[in-house]
Amino acid sequence: MAAAITPPMTALQGYSRRKDTGPYVGMVIFLSAFGMCFAALFFSYSVVRTGAMSWPPAGTEPLPLGLPALNTLVLALSSWTFHRAYVAARRGQPVVAWLGVTFCLGALFMALQLVVWVSVYRSGLHPSSGIYGSVFYALTVFHALHVVSALVTILYLLPGALVGRYGAANHTAVRLSAMFWHFVDVIWVAMFLSVYVF
């Protein structure tokens, strides 16, 4: 056989190597897409904010800062615990404790977020009472929906973690879920800084 038409060995090796990377590649693309959606929401926020004379508009009370700041710490901590879960899975150690802690932190975030919504709503800022309320509720609720779906992925992982299914050779699900969790946390930091702080 002519040597010239023999595909280089690297092509065959490359094929078997990239065949199994599908889940990660897919997740990166999914997260880019979600990122574009959030980018569009932040863009909308910037357009209405730059068009306003003052922000918050005159007569609107500023949003609370304490609980959201605490929440930022909660989410940062949860990102660390989820990372520990992923590292544990890679090393073949039990992951269920780390996943459980992460789930509790995520649930705590949602609880505190609920408190913030209720107190802001009681103070008279409603989604329909003006553009400030519209932006606040739309962005935070949309983010919270992603937190909830991230919590659901942990619920999906937990049964397997309990029976020790995840290990060095089988940590894809944990890794994908962790990627999504970190993504949601990064979005939160951007949201905390732009909606609450500045």
Binding site: A2, G22, Y137
Partner: protein, 601 residues
């Protein structure tokens, strides 16, 4: 046998054969809730063809009203427009043009070209057994199905279907302009269709990245796959922006937020123009999303049926990529008349004009591919040539709309309608049928009737040019789009005969689709049995598997040895006696060396 063959066996022993999933046997798993990309592709094509029929019928009603204003629509008018005695009422007219645009873009072109041929061609042409995420693929189709159900329901709610145009600008699209539930359902339906498209896009991109057969680098992929892959990338990045716009519009309509309602300066308010930004950040890439699969298919078909390598293959692929990158930064040319800063406007104008450079490059590559080729005028080739013609024509009219000074006059006239129909309706229409006629034998294992196909082509190609060139003409005469009855204005009265001419051409186009329907249904059951490679072309789905392919596509994953356009190489013609060489076809030892030398040059 050399070390190559040994490695070949090893690769398939390890990673090939245990990938074959058993074929499902129950009817539901096989034909309805299938995860097989070929079945899902057919489901998408069926859905797309049904909605193309509905959207096309709406176009006929619109044309009837423009040619015979105030006269009852014939035959079914009494049933469809029962409230107004068969006359297309102004409200019905508004819903008609809104739903015509929506259905054709999101429920006809997208399912046929992206859902259908994206699904069918990508795994087969790159030598894969299925998509990388088959369940996500099935979920994508059923999400689209849910979306169509919501859309169909919106026709039967009080105050009827959406009526704010397919672009759905606020404030017309807020509850002040269109209070009916139909508009809200429209928003939900588009959101679901977007979710479906996004799932498909993630699947396509990942599949092309990870499942290309051994030896198939990016620059050995057929240009069809390039077109579909670039489409998927644009979809993954820009459909979410539309989703954000739809979320905000939904909140404005249902929860009462103020994103698109201009407010007082003191209290702060939303901005109706914000929607246009969101919509066109998505919308301009979207027009390329619609035509890119067609470009890819045509780039391949011109080479296949000219029996010549695609001229400047790599350059065509890169030029299409350049168009994708540029398409993301030109959206402002849809907004020249919204009070956009002149400096920004000029920037957008220049960037828009720059798109014509890569577009010209691959257009000239197409013509070079044809030049001195042994052209076979098969039905798919006719449709491909038709696409080249109407796309060239439509592309040239784009220059007048990209230039601010002419756009100020032509904005919102029928010139715009003619322009975008030539580029993304006529061209995509012809591209869709080129694809359907070309891959029909592979899909159904039977040949289509060439005579009916050619009748369909001429009954499509001639009227489609008359219709849209007529629109350019009345648009240049100043006639605005979306007018219920232009003939009541003294300025446009003299355009009525032209409008009647356009409408008559449209009816001929509608009539032509009868040839397609007969051909499609008859050939599916009674067509001549298709051989494995009826077109004598080089890509994997024709050379390495049967027509139709088995459930797992390839018994052995082929090892790709060369690009997709090996035609007319005199050395391998000497070695094999035919003028084409499959992508995975090994040459007989004698002459192989010389042929490969030729290929390398």
């Amino acid at each position: 046998m050399s070390e190559h063959a040994a490695a070949h066996d090893e690769a398939h022993g390890e990673h090939g054969d245990h990938d074959i999933h058993p074929e499902p046997t129950s009817f539901l798993r096989k034909y309805v809730f299938s995860t097989d990309h070929k079945v899902i592709a057919k489901q998408f094509i069926w859905l797309g063809l049904i909605f193309m029929f509905i959207g096309g019928s709406m176009a006929m009603m619109i044309r009837w009203q423009l040619a015979n204003p105030g006269e009852p629509f014939p035959i079914l008018g009494k049933q469809i427009f029962s409230n107004s005695g068969g006359i297309v009422s102004p409200a019905a007219y508004t819903s008609l043009f809104t739903m015509h645009g929506t259905i054709m873009i999101f429920y006809a072109i997208t399912p046929i070209m992206i859902g259908g041929f994206g699904n069918f061609c990508i795994p087969l042409m790159i030598g894969a057994r299925d998509m990388v995420f088959p369940k996500l693929n099935a979920f994508s189709f059923w999400m689209m199905f849910v979306s169509t159900i919501i859309l169909v329901i919106s026709f039967f709610v009080p105050m009827g279907a959406a009526g704010a145009g397919w672009t759905t600008y606020p404030t017309l699209s807020t509850t002040m302009g269109t209070p009916g539930v139909g508009q809200t359902l429209w928003v939900v339906a588009i959101y679901c269709a977007g979710a479906s498209t996004l799932m498909g896009a993630v699947n396509y991109i990942t599949t092309v990245i990870v499942l290309r057969a051994p030896g198939m680098g990016y620059f050995q992929m057929p240009l069809t796959v390039w077109g579909l892959w670039l489409t998927a990338i644009l979809n993954a990045l820009f459909i979410p922006v539309l989703a954000a716009g739809m979320i905000l519009l939904f909140l404005d309509r249902v929860v009462g937020t103020h994103f698109f309602l201009a407010g007082t300066m003191v209290k702060g308010g939303g901005d109706p123009i914000l929607y246009q930004h969101l919509f066109w950040i998505f919308g301009h890439p979207e027009v390329y999303i619609l035509i890119l699969p067609g470009w890819g298919v045509v780039s391949d078909l011109l080479s296949f049926f000219s029996r010549k390598p695609a001229y400047g293959y790599k350059v065509t692929a890169l030029a299409m990529s350049a168009v994708c990158v540029l398409s993301a930064v030109v959206y402002g040319h849809h907004m020249f008349t919204t009070g956009l800063s002149p400096l920004l406007g000029q920037g957008f104008m220049v960037l828009t004009m720059i798109i014509s450079v890569p577009a010209e490059i691959f257009f000239l590559n197409w013509l070079h591919t044809l030049w001195k080729g042994k052209i076979r005028l098969t039905v798919p080739m006719l449709f491909a040539l038709g696409l080249v013609f109407v796309f060239g024509l439509g592309g040239l009219t784009g220059l007048y709309l990209a230039t601010i000074s002419t756009d100020l006059y032509l904005h919102d006239t029928y010139f715009v309608v003619g322009h975008f129909h030539l580029t993304m309706a006529a061209a995509v229409f012809l591209g869709s049928f080129a694809s359907i006629y070309f891959w029909f034998p592979k899909m159904f294992g039977r040949m289509t009737n060439p005579l009916l196909g050619k009748l369909h082509f001429w009954f499509s190609f001639i009227p489609i040019n008359l219709i849209f060139c007529g629109m350019l003409y009345v648009g240049f005469g100043g006639m605005q789009r979306r007018l219920y009855d232009p003939s009541v204005y003294a300025t446009f009265k003299h355009l009525l005969p032209v409008n009647q001419f356009i409408s008559t051409s449209a009816y001929v186009l509608g009539f032509g689709s009868i040839f397609f329907s007969i051909n499609f249904f008859y050939s599916m059951f009674y067509g001549a049995k298709a051989p494995q490679n009826p077109w004598e072309v080089t890509t994997l789905e024709w050379t390495n598997t049967t027509s139709p392919p088995p459930h797992h596509n390839y018994d052995v994953i082929p090892t790709v040895l060369r690009g997709a356009h090996e035609f007319g190489n005199p050395e391998f013609m000497k070695a094999t006696g035919k003028d084409w060489l499959g992508q995975a076809e090994e040459l007989p030892a004698a002459g192989a060396k010389a042929a490969d030398k030729e290929t390398a040059e």
